[in-house]
Amino acid sequence: MNSTSRVVSNIIFCIQILLLFLLLVEDSISLPPFLQLAGRMHPLVLHIPIGVGVFLVSLQLFAPKASAADRGTVVRMGLLLTSASASVAALFGFFLSLQGEYGGDALQQHKISGVILSWLCYFLVVLDSLEVKRVWFLSLGAGVIGVLVLAGHTGSILTHGENFLFGPMDKSSVVLTAENASVFQYAVAPIFEKKCYSCHNESKAKGKLVMTDIDRFKAGGEHGKPWVEGKPQQSRMIKAFYLPLDHDEHMPPDGKPQLTLIEIEVLKSWIKSGADFDKKLGEFPDGDTLKLRVAELVSKEPVQEIEKIYTFEAASDDDLEKMNTPFLSVSALYLNSPALQADFYVRKEFDIKSLQQLKAIANQLVVLSLSKMPVSDNDLTIIASFKNLEVLNLNFTSIQGEGLRSLEALAHLKSLSLSGTKVSARHLAPVLGLPELKQLYVWSTDITASQRDSLAGKHPDVSILLTQFDDNSMLRLSKPMLVNEGVIKPDDQIVFRHPMPGVTIRYTTDGSVPDSVNSLAYEHPFKFTKTTVVKAKGCKDGWFCSDMAEFTCFVRGKQPDELILLTQPDPQYPGEGVQSLTDGRKGVADVLKEPSWLGYRKNPFVVGVEFQPQPPEIKEIVISYARNIGGYSLPPKEVEVWGGESEISLKLIKKFTPQQPTENGALKVDMISVTIPPSTHKYYKLVVRQVPRLPEWHDGKGERSWVFIDELFFY
């Protein structure tokens, strides 16, 4: 017997620890089915400790004089049974609570009181075995009974509802409306009930204020009446709402649900209107503040529902996985939502079968986008079976409109997009009649603004969007573009293009500004034999001609046999030495560090050029340079061309002074063309000199300029 009771007592101890542990890790537990079953035994087991407890109490009360030996065994047995069954009941109850059918404050209270009860019963067993003084034992026993009642009561609330016990004694259950109730009952008391009654009721009465009874409420608490008729600002109650939250007198106290702004406004206007307890809402004049505030309070309530709750079953994950392809994405609206959305992508890959497949999730599909898919009117019958559909996007599909009739079945459709389809106004009647439709998009269809207006007049609940960017002013075209890049070979075709279809490109090659009528129209690619500046504009009816574009087409010329740099470039900008000048690679004017550029500042640029053994006739020399004036890279001050039969017998053939800029201007790779009398020298020498002093208007006035050269051409 002794060893059995020790085993039982140890098991009870284990259950206590288990209970505490489980309570701690409650959120991460998942319950196997057999324990769910155990949980459902809770209502059975819980009656054992109640019964045995009642027996022990009666033993105590009615047979105090039974022989000690008898009592000892019976009480010990009884206590063990109470404790064991209470522990098991608590554990099973815990399992039951995890099954998610119960919730709220009552559950929390029941759970805690159950665990406490189970622990107290265990202490009782321990105390009994220690044979302490009877009075300790009895008082703990009384405590156990108290907690038992509490746990039992909270349990009954869970199973039978809040007012189960006292329900029969409750008098009225009439629904209060603005018509049958006074403003106080209808709007004011419910605020108090939500925010104040928990402390100011007949059993609690903080500050001796009782609000649950109208007469005692009027009588006020220890500080007197909480309001002053007609003077909300002086009313104690209103002042308390506005005190800082951490102030002792702030009501409701920090941690309790606070009044909303509208609730405060309702209370203020109720006091302002005289704090009448009997007047009905209808008795106040229209436009009265209190009336307006109450209307606001009442209308605010439904807005509190934040998310729509879908009651249908979720689709199976397997189904979803099967449907998802790179061209169809089906997913839940959000985590754990049964509602689904489906989007189709890539017109070329559209397969009507994948739309039919969606019938497997016809109940769950809430959002469907078929934008740009080749869906026809007949296919809309498939969509008609998606009865919970709320958003449907049919933009730029192939529908003509007749098929919209089949969408009549979509009772929950809220938004329908038909932009860019061939639907016309007469097709819209069936969808405009849909009960929940809010938005209809019909931009870029045959529907005109006046048709839209007349439809909108008939269906004020639906916003029909036909917006167009309202700007019919003439716009300027973008500039034409040169397709060729870098240095062009003499037999390459020069190609211009404009990104907009239907644009005529007008151009000149003589340096004059092209005009939209007389200048040459670019019709097909052509060739240049030497470096040429092309000025071009794009023109099209209904648009302003583009700004002028200027292109320098660098064309490969006669190739010298050897080039020698007679002065060295600045060490910072060495390029790739002399070969940079003939490698056909063009630089860009804002990245001068590139190896296509040779940069000179201190020294003039001097290069020797040799044509061997049969020197060709040379008439023109073109120097390609960087025009980056803010970056100190200006056109050279002057260019000298020397020629002769050998390096030592050169004569100055030509001196050329390029035009100097007068302001910063755009960055570009520009050219200097030096025409010389036709000659067939074996040797030439080119000297390019920088501007020694930058002009007054330049940021670096007085300093020496740079010259950057990337290519030389000989024609």
Binding site: P326, S331, Y334, L335, S415, W443, F469, L475, P499, M500
Partner: protein, 483 residues
């Protein structure tokens, strides 16, 4: 004797203690059997399997029109007539309160206030103030929600830009788009979830660099894919001449087999990512040409966005492409438009910058609206900080400049669950400090995540021993702008 033994039981012996403890521990062990995930390795670091919003999202996609360089709020949307009255007068110390300045103006002896050179007017039913530089945006103010009280901690471009994009000033954290891709996955499997488009205006510019669209410590599948500014928007996407798609498929199959072997051997998750990227590129070969051929757009669309929208690499063409990408399910399209850094020559450069973006931005919002997409697409327009109310450099009758100002700047959002026709927050009449409803960069991030159905405190990734968030340890959803 009996009693003494009993008394001793109050003084627990070691044996008793150990005995009871083993019972207790046993119970705990028994209880722990009910926790299925107890001994599973933590799943941090594995991309969220569901890729679903935490709650019903208001917006499904984002187009972020980043105005790089910091456009002046005082010449665009934050109208401060007092500055015009006080032009030339010194910025009162009571307003500046010793706030730090950049090295570019901290040496200035004077801080003369300067009013906007450009006139303002109110527009729409909301009565929002817009400067004359934005004639088209002023027409759509009733679709926009202006936030006038953005504020940041960074005072120079790079940290501010990095902060705005990744929630940290130092870089190497995932940027917003990468977080979205991580949290929500990709809708259209034929396109990257996060696309980046660059353009450059005619004003003084600041650089952008790929660290701004980095995946940081997230899987590299979440990295932003930068579209080229050339005719071919995604480089190297076409099959080489002479090879057909069948051959590509075969090559990829074999390659993926080899890579899978590599993955089995080394277990590097980046190998899996690489396989996925190849597959994505293969699918992009079909999807991208359909998208990037802008010349196929009808004439009225070209007119809306302006002729430049056909010129690759312009802001206008990026806006049009952004619409097409977003329409095709790209989660996050990030534009950067450079050239807004008007330290000097405000009068010369600001109109050029505004001209470049005004029409096409308004067109983008309208275009989304008429397709019914604005409701589910969040459009954001704004820079990394604001500009000072005092003049940087010489203040002349004709021209002036403004330095960086992190304390208050204006951005706007449109569509996707944001209240339309709203002006949120208020700056003082000097346009220097915030007087009502500040919105910190962290709050901005929290709000954008909220609109996408993500709880910014729950979207985390464990890295170097701690959980990171886009909002790090701060950020509050700005409820005032939620529709």
């Amino acid at each position: 004797m009996e009693n003494e033994l009993l008394k001793q039981r109050f003084q627990i012996t070691r044996r008793h203690f150990l005995g009871k403890m083993s019972l207790g521990l046993g119970s705990v062990a028994l209880g722990s059997l009910l926790i299925p995930d107890l001994f599973k390795p933590s799943d941090d670091g594995i991309p969220q399997l569901a890729g679903l919003p935490h709650f019903a999202p208001k917006a499904k996609r984002i187009i972020y029109l980043f105005q790089n360089g910091a456009p002046s709020q005082l010449e665009s949307f934050d109208y401060k007539p007092l500055l015009n009255k006080m032009t030339g007068q010194e910025l009162p110390e009571s307003i500046r309160k010793g706030q730090r300045l950049t090295g570019m103006t901290s040496g200035q002896a004077k801080f003369p206030l300067v009013g906007s050179h450009f006139s303002f007017a109110q527009y729409g039913q909301s009565g929002a103030w817009v400067s004359e530089l934005f004639p088209h945006m002023s027409k759509i103010v009733d679709d926009l929600c202006f936030i006038k009280t953005m504020n940041t901690e960074a005072i120079n471009h790079d940290p501010a830009l990095t902060f705005m994009q990744s929630g940290a000033q130092q870089g190497n954290r995932p940027s917003m788009g990468a977080w979205m891709s991580y949290g929500l996955g990709s809708d259209n499997k034929n396109l990257p979830a996060y696309c980046v488009l660059l353009s450059r205006g005619r004003g003084n510019g600041q650089g952008v660099y790929s660290k701004l669209w980095t995946n940081g410590f997230l899987d590299s599948i979440h990295q932003g894919v930068q579209f080229s500014s050339s005719e071919e928007r995604v480089l190297y996407l076409k099959d080489p001449d002479g090879r057909d798609r069948q051959a590509t498929r075969k090559m990829l199959d074999n390659l993926s087999e080899l890579n899978s072997l590599g993955h089995q051997e080394f277990g590097d998750p980046e190998i899996q990512t690489r396989i996925q990227q190849y597959e994505m590129a293969y699918r992009m070969q079909t999807a991208v040409p359909e998208l990037s051929d802008l010349a196929q757009e009808p004439d009225h669309i070209i007119k809306m966005y302006g002729a430049d929208c056909l010129v690759p690499g312009t802001y206008a063409s990026n806006c049009l492409l952004a619409r097409k990408l977003s329409e095709s399910g790209v989660r996050f399209v990030q534009l950067y438009h450079q050239g807004w850094d008007q330290h000097g020559n405000m009068v010369g450069e600001m109109p050029l910058q505004a001209e470049d973006v005004d029409r096409s931005t308004a067109a983008l919002v309208m275009d989304l609206k008429q397709r019914g997409l604005l409701d589910e697409t969040l459009v954001i327009w704004g820079g990394e900080f604001g500009r000072t109310n005092y003049c940087q450099g010489t203040l002349s009758k004709e021209n002036y400049g403004r330095d960086h100002h992190p304390r208050a700047y204006t951005i706007w959002m449109a569509g996707g669950g944001v209240k339309p026709g709203m002006v949120y927050g208020e700056t003082d009449e000097f346009g220097y400090n915030i007087v009502k409803d500040p919105v910190h960069v962290n709050d901005f991030h929290a709000t954008v995540l909220h609109l996408m159905g993500l709880n910014h405190e729950q979207l985390t990734f464990k890295h170097l021993g701690r959980r990171y968030r886009l909002t790090d340890v701060a950020g509050k959803v700005v409820n005032g702008i939620l529709a």
